[in-house]
C-alpha cells in the first residue's frame, strides 16, 4: 500500500474509532425526532404562547397518510367548488393573486404588495383554491380538453375483486400525468386503495410525484376522468426527449391497509401482487418562456431566467445570491391567497440548484398554460432561517417584479 494511501486509511480509522467511542450506538433516535417534528410542526395557536408569533406555513397540514392526503384534497376541493361558484371562471381566479393580475389599487400586472402580517392575512381572500385544487381544476380546463393532449388508455388489471384502471396519460419533457381509478371496494374511503404508483420509462429516468395530485371527488371533474379517479403528476429526474412515442411502465399494488367491509383489509396475498401497466404515449415539447430579466432591490440581484409552462404545472426558474447562503435556508415569498388560516406564500421549492448558475425552479400556484397573455411574478421578500418552521432570522424586502407573456397553448 503506498505510504500516503496508508496514512489516509489510518486517518480514517483514527477518526472512526474516536467518533465511535465518543458516540456509541444509542437507543432508537426516531421517537425523539418524531416528537420534535410534531412539536415544531404544531399548529400556530399551540406554539404561539411558548415561542412567540411565528409564521403559520402549515406543515401540520401536510398529510402523512394516503387517507390524510385524500381528505386534505377533499377539504380543499370543497372550498374550491365554493370559490368557483362564487367568483366565476377558473381563468379569472388564476389571474389573481400570486401571478400579479390586476388588483384594486394597483397597476396592470404590478402585483406589488407588502406581505401582510399573519393575523391580517387570515381575513384576506378566503376561499381561493390552493395549488392542489387549482392543479386539479387546471387539468379540467377546456384548453386541455380541446387540445386533446392526453391519451385515453383504459387499461385494466384485476386482483381478486378489485379492478384497477389506467384511464389516461399525458407526458411532456418535464412532466407526466396519469389518471387511474379503482373499483370493487366495499368502501372507497376517499382513496384509490393503491400504494403510491411508481413510474419508470425507456430512458431510465426516475419519477417523483410533485405533490399536486389527488383523487377526484368533485362533480365538476367526473365527466372528464370519471368519479373517484386519481390524478398523479410526476416529474422525471432528467428531462425527457420530445418524441411521438415513449414507453412507460407503471407499477402499483393494493394498499394492504385499505379497508373492506369486514375491516380486515385486503390480505397480504392480494396486496402483495404487483400490477404492471406498460403504455406508450407521445412526449410533447415543454413550453419554455425565456424571460432573462434581472431586478435589483436591497442589494439583492434576482433573475427570472425562464418559465416552464405545462398543462400539468407551471414553474419559474429564479436565480439569486443571498448573503450568508451557507448559514440560512432562503425562501422567496410572494403574495399568495390563503385558505382558512394558513399561508401558501412561499414558492414551492422544486429543484436542485442548476449548475453553474445556481438557479432553482419553483412551482407556481396558478396555471399559466390556459392563461395566455401578460403576467407578472412578484417576490415581495426573501426570508432566511437556520431551522425549519421557525421565525426567519433575516428578511430582505424586495419587491422583485418580473413581467412576461405566455403564448396561446
Amino acid at each position: 500500500m503506498p505510504a500516503d494511501r496508508e496514512k489516509k486509511v489510518l486517518t480514517e480509522k483514527e477518526l472512526r474509532d474516536y467518533a465511535e467511542r465518543a458516540v456509541p450506538a444509542a437507543e432508537d433516535p426516531w421517537p425523539a425526532i418524531r416528537q420534535r417534528l410534531q412539536t415544531e410542526l404544531r399548529p400556530e395557536p399551540e406554539r404561539a404562547s411558548a415561542s412567540g408569533p411565528e409564521r403559520s406555513w402549515p406543515p401540520q397540514l401536510v398529510p402523512s397518510t394516503p387517507l390524510g392526503y385524500a381528505l386534505a384534497v377533499l377539504s380543499v376541493l370543497i372550498l374550491a367548488v365554493g370559490a368557483y361558484a362564487a367568483s366565476g371562471p377558473v381563468r379569472e381566479l388564476s389571474r389573481q393573486g400570486l401571478l400579479g393580475g390586476p388588483e384594486p389599487g394597483h397597476g396592470e400586472g404590478s402585483g406589488v404588495e407588502e406581505q401582510p402580517n399573519p393575523g391580517e392575512q387570515g381575513h384576506e381572500r378566503q376561499g381561493v383554491p390552493d395549488q392542489w385544487a387549482e392543479d386539479l381544476l387546471r387539468w379540467n380546463t377546456p384548453e386541455v380538453r380541446e387540445a386533446n393532449l392526453d391519451v385515453r388508455l383504459n387499461e385494466t388489471r384485476t386482483v381478486g375483486r378489485i379492478t384497477v384502471a389506467l384511464e389516461r396519460a399525458y407526458a411532456d419533457e418535464g412532466n407526466v400525468v396519469i389518471v387511474y381509478s379503482t373499483s370493487g371496494w366495499d368502501n372507497q374511503e376517499g382513496h384509490s386503495g393503491l400504494a403510491m404508483p411508481t413510474l419508470s420509462d425507456e430512458s431510465g429516468a426516475t419519477f417523483e410525484s410533485v405533490g399536486n395530485s389527488g383523487m377526484v371527488t368533485d362533480p365538476m371533474r367526473e365527466s372528464i376522468v370519471g368519479k373517484d379517479a386519481t390524478i398523479e403528476v410526476l416529474e422525471p429526474s432528467e428531462k425527457l426527449e420530445a418524441s411521438g412515442r415513449h414507453e412507460f411502465r407503471l407499477r402499483t399494488q393494493l394498499d394492504p391497509s385499505h379497508g373492506t367491509s369486514d375491516g380486515q383489509g385486503n390480505g397480504a396475498t392480494e396486496a402483495a401482487k404487483t400490477l404492471t401497466f406498460d403504455f406508450a404515449i407521445p412526449v410533447h415539447e415543454l413550453d419554455v418562456i425565456d424571460v432573462g430579466q434581472t431586478v435589483e432591490a436591497n442589494e439583492i440581484s434576482m433573475t427570472l431566467d425562464r418559465v416552464e409552462n405545462s398543462p400539468a404545472r407551471s414553474q419559474a426558474i429564479l436565480c439569486f445570491d443571498p448573503p450568508q447562503d451557507e448559514k440560512y435556508n432562503w425562501l422567496p415569498l410572494t403574495k399568495r391567497p390563503i385558505i382558512n388560516d394558513f399561508f401558501l406564500n412561499e414558492l414551492l421549492h422544486r429543484t436542485e440548484p442548476e449548475e453553474p448558475t445556481g438557479c432553482v425552479g419553483y412551482d407556481l400556484y396558478s396555471s399559466l398554460y390556459d392563461n395566455p397573455g401578460a403576467h407578472s411574478i412578484t417576490v415581495t421578500k426573501i426570508e432566511g432561517r437556520t431551522r425549519a418552521y421557525t421565525k426567519p432570522e433575516e428578511t430582505i424586502s424586495g419587491p422583485w417584479t418580473f413581467e412576461f407573456e405566455t403564448p396561446e397553448p
Partner: protein, 202 residues
C-alpha cells in the same frame, strides 16, 4: 437498508409521509451525530445538530434530486450546521466525556489499553480542536464520511479550489500535531487521490 429502500423512503417523504423520514433517520442518524461531534466536540450539540438536520431534510426534501444518494446531500446539512455552530463558539471544548456514565468506552479494555486509547483520543481531540471549523468540516467530510473532493464540492457549497485548499491546510496542521504517521500532506501532486476522484478527473 438498500438503495431501493432508501429511494422509497425519499419518495414517501416527498409525498409528505413522515414514515419516510423514520427510515432515513434509522439509517443516517448515528453517522450524522458522530460527524457533527467531530466538528463541534460536544455530544449534546451534535445530537441537536443531527435532529435539526432531519427537520431541515423534511423541509427541503422537495429540492432533493431523488436520482442521487441521500447521504451526501444530508451530510451537507449536518456539516454546514456543525461548522456554523463551531464558528459561533469561542473555542471548541471537547468535553472529557469519554469516561462518562453512558459506557462510551468499550466494555472490557484492560488498564493499559484504556490508558493508551485515552491518550490517543486526547491527541486526536486536541488536533481537531486546533483546526478552524471549516477545515475541521472538510476533514470530517473527507476522512470520516468518505466523500471525494468532487462530492464535497458538489454538496458542500464551496468551489473545488476552496475544498482542496482547506484539506491541504488541515493535513499540514494535523501532520504537525499528530506526527507524520497520519494525514501528511502529499509531497508530490496528488498521491493520496481517491480512485473515485481520479475517475472524476478523467
Amino acid at each position: 437498508m438498500g438503495g431501493r429502500e432508501e429511494r422509497e423512503a425519499v419518495a414517501r417523504l416527498k409525498r409528505g409521509e413522515i414514515g419516510g423520514l423514520e427510515t432515513l433517520v434509522r439509517r443516517h442518524h448515528l453517522r450524522a451525530v458522530r460527524a457533527a461531534y467531530l466538528v463541534v466536540g460536544d455530544r449534546g450539540l451534535a445530537e441537536e445538530i443531527a435532529q435539526s438536520a432531519f427537520v431541515k431534510a423534511y423541509e427541503r426534501i422537495g429540492s432533493f434530486d431523488p436520482s442521487r444518494p441521500f447521504g451526501p446531500w444530508f451530510s451537507r446539512i449536518v456539516i454546514n450546521d456543525s461548522i456554523t455552530v463551531a464558528s459561533g463558539r469561542k473555542k471548541t471544548v471537547y468535553l472529557d466525556e469519554l469516561r462518562g456514565p453512558t459506557g462510551l468506552l468499550d466494555p472490557e479494555p484492560g488498564p493499559q489499553e484504556r490508558a493508551e486509547r485515552s491518550d490517543e483520543e486526547r491527541r486526536v481531540r486536541r488536533a481537531l480542536e486546533e483546526l478552524p471549523p471549516a477545515q475541521r468540516g472538510a476533514v470530517v467530510q473527507r476522512y470520516f464520511l468518505g466523500m471525494s473532493e468532487a462530492e464535497m464540492a458538489q454538496h458542500g457549497g464551496a468551489p473545488p479550489g476552496t475544498i482542496k485548499s482547506r484539506l491541504h491546510a488541515a493535513r499540514r496542521s494535523l501532520a504537525k500535531m499528530l506526527g507524520p504517521r497520519l494525514l501528511a500532506t502529499p509531497a508530490v501532486g496528488r498521491a493520496d487521490q481517491d480512485p473515485r476522484e481520479a475517475k472524476d478527473a478523467r
